[in-house]
Amino acid sequence: MRRIFGGALGSLLLLGSVHWGVPAAHAEKDVPVFADALANGAPSPRGDAAPSDAGFPFEGGSPSDTGSLVDTGVPLDSSSFSGTRDAAAGEAVAAIDTRTKGLPTHVLEGDLYVGLNIMVAPAVDHRGEIDSTNGGFGVAFGLTYRTRYFLSPFLEFGYASIYRNEKNVDLGSAGGTAVSSGRLSAMSVLVGPALDLWRFRLRAGIGLYRLSTTTRVLGTSVSSDELDMGYGFSLSGYPLRTDRFQLGLEARLHLILEGGTTVFSIGPTFTGDIFRW
């Protein structure tokens, strides 16, 4: 109960931080055409924004809402500088206005991950095992909703092959010995926030894991499954990126609480902006 309560509380806090909303402090992107604007805190085409040296407007709208770059609470544009000795600055702002006009403030992003898993817990008692494979492949796809806020909610569905073995079994009073084979896999659905920092993304999700196990012995198979609460954490790095797409490497940790199973996974990840508005 403590764990469930603690988990639920943690999730509320986590999701609450998204709801309360903090404008994005995302790292700058390597998109040359927007380099100037980014340097001054304007949103990137991916919805990210780099902070200006003067500080970023935390309340009352972002630059992409107003076209302004200064946190005065009053919308600014290049005309604010007309006829003043700051005309040069006004021209610079006008140039950036032009470049940033029409940039999206909402992006629905699709994510795809394929990786190799290894079961970290529980420790395996290898008594009687003839052969075993710890881990397997994992795949996940999801959606991330990016806005000017620095936390982006995501929803993800995944599958992971976790363990398989073949072993000699003493059946006791059930009769003699036999060879059995078994395998364990999990399907998951996770929700949570993602935090983008430069070329990295950190995610923490809570969700449900459906652990499925199949055991075959004495010529018959039995499958059983259970639904467990758990957490998923991931850290991604994206060395390759374009305006709409990113390709990188991701490390994941799944803590399947009631199932007592922890799985680490690593592999390539791909993201692409599906809708922008």
């Binding site: 931080s17 309360w20 817990a121 529980p122 073995n165 012995v217 039995v222």
Partner: protein, 457 residues
């Protein structure tokens, strides 16, 4: 917060520092994130604060490795009440109940619900009788080794030679030796002097819940195992309660929950609904928490009949489907117990109206006995000999007396706190089911010593 930002800035470089400065300015939000991460960490089972229980043993088997076993018939004569220990304070300052079975000697003390389980051996051509084992607080993970010698020599000699203890020497009996903490060889001196003979409380049922202890209490065996059943007597109980479920292939077996889970089982492939598994598949995929196989009911009864002197076994049927197969196995082992001249009562526990209906509908071999766990009216309308009310309903003194008047026996379940045990004993039940049978054994012996009635009149 600034220190955190500073550390990150130093290590991650200028690109990151700019962003974390902004996070630093938004300390409120960062605080929430950290709170969430800490909450998640605390919620994960790997971060649970429960300590690990040691099961210390004497190096190289201790003196018992050099000793001869004590004859089974006489060791029980050592059972008595001893004065509060002098020397070490580990077992507290109250009288200690020494409970001897045919192959073990146990100490039960009230403070910290301490117990010690020891084996006995004769040394030096029967001149010395040594008791060696481990002590533990039931309510904590404190544990250690204990080694006691039975004095005077004449008593040790008599027990080792399978002779009765001379009555004139009873008051001179002392247990003297050493006790220590953890796995370190014990050095604290401890002495206990004989105080009074044990009282005959054999009519009172001290029933052990799920075996000697719950898995989570870690007394050296998982609950509902053969190993745990063998530990029940040293832990002070005369009856064991075990949980029975039905496998997919129709075999009654011992297990409490509806699912296989890390609380009770281990094995990467051990997940899901218990009813999905055949016995063979269970054996292939699962082991119990401390590595034991999941036993069938037949194996459990075989162990109870052959390897213990328990007076009874209470089979708690966890689902209606298991009732009929369980009745058949019960009949088989009643017969085996009779053949071995074992006075063993085998009773099926009925914990819900659905299970009761299954029991009523089932064909019952002659001699089948049941325990009904719900209301008084229910037990009056069933052929059950026992009523097992849940303790949370209160002592219900009048109901207890009324049912005892109808020749039904009353056993409360499951009481673990000394204060509640004392309260419920006032209702004069026939027994109590507990996770701490040693504590209950201590309580009823001290009550009897004080002249109080234990159990029904």
């Amino acid at each position: 917060m600034n220190a955190l930002a500073s550390t990150i800035r130093d290590s991650w470089g200028a690109m990151f520092s700019r962003h974390f400065e902004h996070l630093g300015a938004r300390a409120g939000q960062l605080k929430w994130i950290l709170a969430v991460l800490v909450t998640l960490a605390l919620a994960h089972p790997g971060c649970s604060a429960r300590g690990t229980v040691l099961h210390p043993r004497f190096e190289k088997g201790g003196l018992l490795a050099l000793a001869k076993p004590v004859p089974e018939k006489t060791l029980t004569d050592l059972g008595a009440i001893f004065e509060a220990p002098t020397g070490s304070a580990i077992l507290g300052g109250d009288p200690v109940v020494v409970y001897a079975t045919r192959n073990s000697v146990s100490l039960f003390a009230a403070p910290n619900t301490a117990y010690a389980i020891m084996r006995a051996g004769c040394l030096d051509d029967n001149a010395r009788l040594v008791l060696e084992g481990a002590w533990r607080y039931s309510n904590a993970t404190d544990t250690g080794l204990i080694r006691l010698f039975v004095e005077p020599t004449e008593v040790a000699n008599a027990l080792c030679k399978e002779l009765p203890i001379p009555p004139s020497l009873l008051k001179d009996i002392r247990l003297r030796g050493v006790i220590g903490r953890d796995e370190i060889a014990p050095t604290e001196e401890i002495t206990m002097a004989w105080k009074a003979p044990r009282s005959d409380t054999s009519n009172f049922i001290v029933a052990a819940h799920h075996g000697a202890c719950k898995t989570i209490d870690d007394c050296g065996a998982s609950e509902n195992t053969l190993e745990s059943i063998e530990l029940v007597e040293p832990f002070g109980a005369s009856v064991v309660e075990i949980d029975v479920r039905l496998s997919k292939d129709g075999v009654p077996f011992l297990y409490h929950d509806e699912t296989f889970n890390p609380r009770l089982t281990q094995g990467p492939l051990c997940h899901g609904q218990v009813r999905d598994y055949t016995i063979a598949q269970m054996r292939a995929a699962c082991r119990l928490k401390f590595g034991e196989e999941i036993p069938t009911l037949a194996e459990a009864l075989e162990t109870t009949v052959n390897d213990t002197r328990l007076a009874g076994i209470w089979l708690d049927a966890k689902e209606p489907e298991v009732v009929a197969p369980t009745l058949a196995v019960m009949a088989e082992y009643r017969k085996k117990a009779e053949e071995k001249k074992r006075a063993l009562e085998i009773v099926i526990g009925l914990g819900s109206s659905e299970i009761l209906e299954a029991y009523v509908a089932a064909t019952k071999p002659e001699g089948t006995r049941c325990l009904y766990e719900l209301d008084r009216a229910g037990v009056e309308s069933t052929p059950c000999d026992f009523w097992g009310p849940r303790w949370t309903r209160g002592p219900m003194n009048e109901d207890v007396t009324a049912l005892q008047g109808q020749k039904k026996r009353v056993v409360y379940w499951t009481i673990n706190e000394p204060e509640f045990i004392a309260l419920f004993l006032k209702a004069k039940p026939d027994g109590i089911l507990t996770d701490r049978p040693g504590m209950l054994r201590n309580k009823i012996q001290l009550m009897a010593l004080a002249g109080e009635q234990v159990g029904p009149q």
